[in-house]
Each structure stands twice: as C-alpha cells, then as structure tokens.
Symmetry: C2
Subunit: 383 residues, 2 copies
C-alpha cells in the first residue's frame, strides 16, 4: 500500500424527507444563494421542499447552470453573488450544478477571473461555504472537493479540485430521483461504475480492503442496474444507487492505491467536442481502453472478471476477452450505445483528441502512458 492522507469532512444527510433538515444546518444569519439547473426541481417538488425549509432564511436564486457547467454562466453567478454579498451557497440539482457551485464558492473569494482557478486550483485560498441537495446520483460531487468546468467558447472541459470546496453537507433523498429521464439514470449508473474503475482497474495486490470495497460498489451496480432501468421508483434500489454513487468518488475506495483516470480524460474531450453526456462517453471509452491496455492490466482484469462476473474457465486470454465483453454488454443492457460509430463520430474527432493530448503534452493512466497516440488507439477501438 502506498502512503496516503485522507480527509472528507462532508456531512451526508440521507433519506426520504430529509431535505427539511437543511433548516437547522444553514446558520440563520447567512445570506444564501440557491443555485439551480434548468427547472426540473420545480416539477419534481424539490424546489418547494427547499423553499419551505429555508422560509426563514434570506435567500436569492440563480438559475440556469447547464449540464457541463459553462464558465460564462458561472461568471454571472459570481457577479451576482458578489453584488449581493452572498456568504452561503446551496446547490440544488445534479453534479453539474454542484460542480459549478464549487467554482462559484471559490470565485466569490477571488479577485481575478474564475477560469484562472480552473486552470490553477492552487490559487484557491478560501471559499464561501457551500452545501448541496442532490437530485441525480452520478458524479459524486456531493461528497468530494472537485468539479469539472467547460468553456464552450473554446470547446474545453477541465477538472479542478481544492480542499476548500468540499460541501459542508449534502442531502440525498432517493425519492428525488424517481422522475429523472431514464438516459440520465443509465449514464449515472455507468458514471458510478467507471469512477470506481478509475481507482481500481490498475494493478493487483496494492490493498485487499480497497479492492474489496471497489468490487462491492461494482457488484452493487451490476445487481441493481437492470432492475432500476425497468422501474426507477423502487426506493431501496435507488437508495443503494445513490449511496454507491457517492461512495464511488469520495476517496473511500482510493486510499493507498494508484489511479488511472485516462477514460475520463478522453471522455471529457468527447463531451467538449460533441456534447455527449459524460456517463455515456465513459460507456464508449472504457471498454476500448480495456482492449488496448489489456496486457498492462491483465492481472486486475482477471481479478475483476472472476469476482464480479464469475469468469473462471478458459485461458487467460479468453477470460480477459470475456470480461471485457461482459462489461460492454452490461453498459448496453442499460440502454446506452458503446461505440463512437453509433454516435456518428469518426476519425476527425479521434485525430482532434490526439492533437489536444499532444498539444498539452499530457499522458494519463496509472503508468502515465496514455499519450495522444494511445488515446487515438483507444478511440479507434471504439469505432
């Protein structure tokens, strides 16, 4: 096991009816800016619950944080928050609203332009306290300190993180997920699955306990995914999904182990260039990455195949192949395509991703060997 430092101060407030608890969690003397996406929270009753809980607080509202939150939108939120002397933020929505609100929290305490904070998060020296009411299990943003911000003007999408942008608390009520579009649910399941994979699918024998916990989330998603896609109003299943999504990216499964993240970095480019939903890009890229890196990751693929898919027969090569097929088939069983060609994306995009990696001189993965060239090979494998 590698040395590590772990800390996660976010309070989880979990269960049906728990939105009412925010009354007592946000100090009465704070001026709160509520941040929202496009309006689904008005249709599913979450907005009303939040307003009722905060009826004695001083609040203003900022609407319109889009999927893959754009820096131009967040600049407007920061300007409003500065003008109104906001000293508490409550994000109400999915991962995009929470990610964006984290940047707003930091931006409210920063004199320069907030895009600088995305490019260089060490500039974040403090932030306004933020909390969240989560409505879409997927990104894990509700219990970590990171976010992903887009700049559509330049077709860019970058992640940032700062110890100052953990939510103080996050409310997770599984009932708020019943009305989500089923494509979002499928993407959320894959997002959770691949978050865990980024922290697990590296090398064996780093930590038995972390492997077991990562596999525990993968197993849970495999078990509940198909049932959820048939009926997403089953409380216990959505509760396990919501908790798994949070546990998948809050640091609990990455203590002392190496991490990959190449799938995410390639996926972000596909979203930046084509607007594909984040989880969907992962369903396309991850099987391709396994195919290209199957030698490097062979021992871990075998462990994953045996423990999650009960694959124990055949040669090493056959077992690896079967494991990759099972993984891709699982993503397809949720109703997602898993090939770039199915989304009418071709070699032009692949060449552009390669160029972007090369221009930035980056290489991802646990061995830092997923260069532009390897990213291209992975994407060709997803055609």
């Amino acid at each position: 096991m590698e040395n590590f430092i772990f800390k996660n101060p976010t309070q989880l407030i979990f269960g049906k009816g728990m939105i009412s608890k925010i009354t007592e969690e946000i100090p009465q003397d704070k001026k709160v800016m509520l941040t929202f996406g496009g309006g689904s929270v008005k249709r599913n009753g979450v907005y009303d619950q939040v307003c009722k809980a905060l009826e004695k607080h001083t609040t203003i509202e900022f609407w319109g944080i889009e999927s893959n939150p754009d820096i131009s939108t967040l600049r407007k939120a920061i300007a409003l928050g500065k003008k109104e002397n906001i000293d508490y933020l409550l994000a109400v929505g999915g991962g995009s609203v929470i990610d964006g609100t984290k940047l707003v929290a930091a931006g409210l305490c920063y004199e320069g332009d907030s895009w600088e904070l995305v490019l260089n998060p060490s500039l974040i020296k403090t932030a306004v306290p933020l909390a969240s009411v989560l409505t879409l299990p997927a990104t894990g943003s509700e219990m970590n300190c990171g976010g992903v911000i887009s700049c559509r003007e330049n077709k860019l999408k970058y992640s940032f993180a700062s110890p100052y942008t953990f939510p103080v608390f996050s409310v997770l009520d599984p009932e708020t997920t019943y009305s989500l579009p089923s494509h979002q649910v499928a993407c959320g399941l894959v997002d959770t699955f691949v978050h865990v994979m980024e922290q697990y699918m590296t090398t064996i024998n780093q930590s038995r306990i972390m492997d077991r916990w990562a596999e525990g989330i993968l197993q849970t998603i495999v078990e509940i995914g198909p049932s959820i896609m048939k009926d997403q109003t089953q409380y216990d299943l959505m509760a396990d999904f919501m908790l798994s999504a949070t546990m998948g990216l809050n640091g609990f499964v990455s203590m002392g182990v190496t991490q990959d993240w190449a799938t995410h970095m390639i996926g972000h480019e596909l979203t930046a260039l084509h607007g594909l939903t984040h989880g969907h890009t992962l369903a396309i890229v991850f099987p391709g990455l396994l195919r290209v890196l199957k030698k490097q990751k062979s021992d871990k693929i075998l462990q994953y195949g045996e423990r999650i898919w009960n694959i124990t027969n055949g040669s090493k090569e056959e077992k690896i192949e079967e494991t990759i097929v099972k993984t891709e088939t699982f993503f397809r069983s949720l109703g997602l395509t898993t090939r770039l060609s199915e989304e009418s994306i071709g070699v032009d995009t692949i060449n552009e991703v390669e160029k972007r990696f090369n221009d930035r001189k980056v290489a991802y993965g646990e061995n830092e060997n997923v260069t532009g060239e390897v990213a291209k090979e992975i994407l060709i494998n997803t055609l």
Copy 2:
C-alpha cells in the same frame, strides 16, 4: 435503507515514516499534552519519532493510561492538563490510550467529575482538540468519536461518544505494529472482525453496498489473519490490517443499517469482572450469540456463510451450523480460546452478568431482545 446522518471529519495520515507529519498538523502555538500507556512506545521507537516531530512545540507528558483505561487515571490526567493549561492532546498508543484521551479532552472543558461525562455524554459541550498516533490496530478509536472507560473500583466498564471527541487527525504507520505481542495482534484481528459483525449480522436486504463493504473487511481479515499470526512484520499485510481496523468502526459500513452490539456489551462485563482482553471476550461471546440467536439472524448468517466461507451445500440448518463452526474455528486459529471454561470462568460470572443487565434494565441487539436472561443463555453456550 433507513434514513441516516453521517459525518467523520478525522484526517488519516497513513504509511511508513508519516509520524514526522505531525510537525505541521499541530499548530505551533498550542501547548500539547502527550498521553501514553505503559512504555512500549519507548522500546519500538515511536516515542523518539514523536519527540523529534514535536521538538519545536511546547509539550508535557502523561504516562500510564492502562488497558481498559480507568477513570482514576484519567482524573489525574485531567488535573494535570488543567493545571498546565493544555490546549491540545496527542494520544500515542493503542485504543485504550486514545479512548482515555478523548475523555481527558472533554474533561478539560468540564467543571464536574469526568465520570459524569461517561454516564451522560450529552454533558459534553466542547472539548480540547485531540489527535493520535496509533500503534495497535483494533478498536477503531483513531477515527471515531467514542471511547470505553472503566471504573475498577466498582468493576464497571461503559462506553461513551460525543461529536466533540473525533481526533483531528490520526497517524497510522504499519511499521509501528511489528513489535506488538502476538496475543494483542490476535485480539485486534478479532476486535476488527466483530466490530464489523455488530454492524452487519442483523437482517438482510437493508443495504447492498453496506453489506458488500462489511463483507469486504471480513474477507480481508479472514485472508490476512493466519499469515499475520505467522509473521507480523509483513508491511502490506499489516497495512491492510491497520486500514481494515480503522474502516471497521468509523461509520463507513453502518450507513442506513441497524446494528447489534450485544456481543460487545456482554464482553465488556467479562473484562470488567475478570480483566480479559477486550478482543478475547468477543472471540468467546460472538459464537455463543450466533448459536442462541441463529433463528432470528438465519438469513444473514446464510449470506455471511456463503459470501465469506463459501458454504453453499446442505440444509439451511446445516449451513448455519457450519458457518458458526467456521467462525469459531477462525478465532481459534489465531491462537485464542473461545470458551469461558477455558478461562476458568463459570456460572457465578454468568449469573452476575445477568444480574447487571437486569439491574440496569437494559436489552441490546438490533431487536433489543438481548436481556439479562438472553445474555445468560449466550454465556452458557460459551462454556
């Protein structure tokens, strides 16, 4: 899944050589009281590492917090801390030192006698910040807010907990465990195992993900236990043990599920009456509890037996019996006795435990049905 609120703010600093990090974690302007047990930290080099890290801090030392820390010892530590105006505590040792130091942290901010805080933890309104350097993986005290305090004068042993007594940080260096007595290591393995069981061995279908994580720790302890007992200087094994012990009682496996804790409550009485090491009492009580409550817990015993011990053949009754035997055999394989009679403890003690439960009018377990009478039946089953 039940509604729940979760928060754990403790920072983990994990790995070889990490004791040096405490230099930067404790503010320079604090007056620190270091608290210790009996002196093993002087023999294994931990004391020297801590002194070196704090050479520029103002420190005093308090020695002699015994196993099952006694209120009379802690009163002395509190008196010293008040006299010296201590405003930071660093516990260096195992769970007993950390547990005791938590009470000292609260006692330094309390006017009355600190035993009152054990009996009524809601009296704790604040505490001096405390941190720890852990040397014995077992109790999980390094990452939770609870402690167990004894009053030998009256042969009592009670637990307490307060949100103010989480360690600010805990340093876990697996190398510090190499020189532990092997009986302590065995007891620590069982303590970890049964901590998890208290949060898991109740009813099925409460949370798939929590079940998987609990099973992940159990599986890890089963895998590494025998190898550790042969050679406790294998870094990766001790790292997994140390991390598992912490994860076993920091709230990470108990979100939204019911809990038992009857084994611990009975075990505490055995320690109070006979001085048996805590983990050893659990190795005796837990198999007896399973035998007595096997009907109530049958579905969960079957799940545990299949997932941890691969028990899939035979009738339901046979599988349950085999699972209980496997569990007791595992504890014995670590070198511990699992029967009261092997420790020359008999019916007098059993009657006294029953009387104590009855006098306090308590009943433990997820169904609150482990009364004095049931506790007696459990202990008779351990003869």
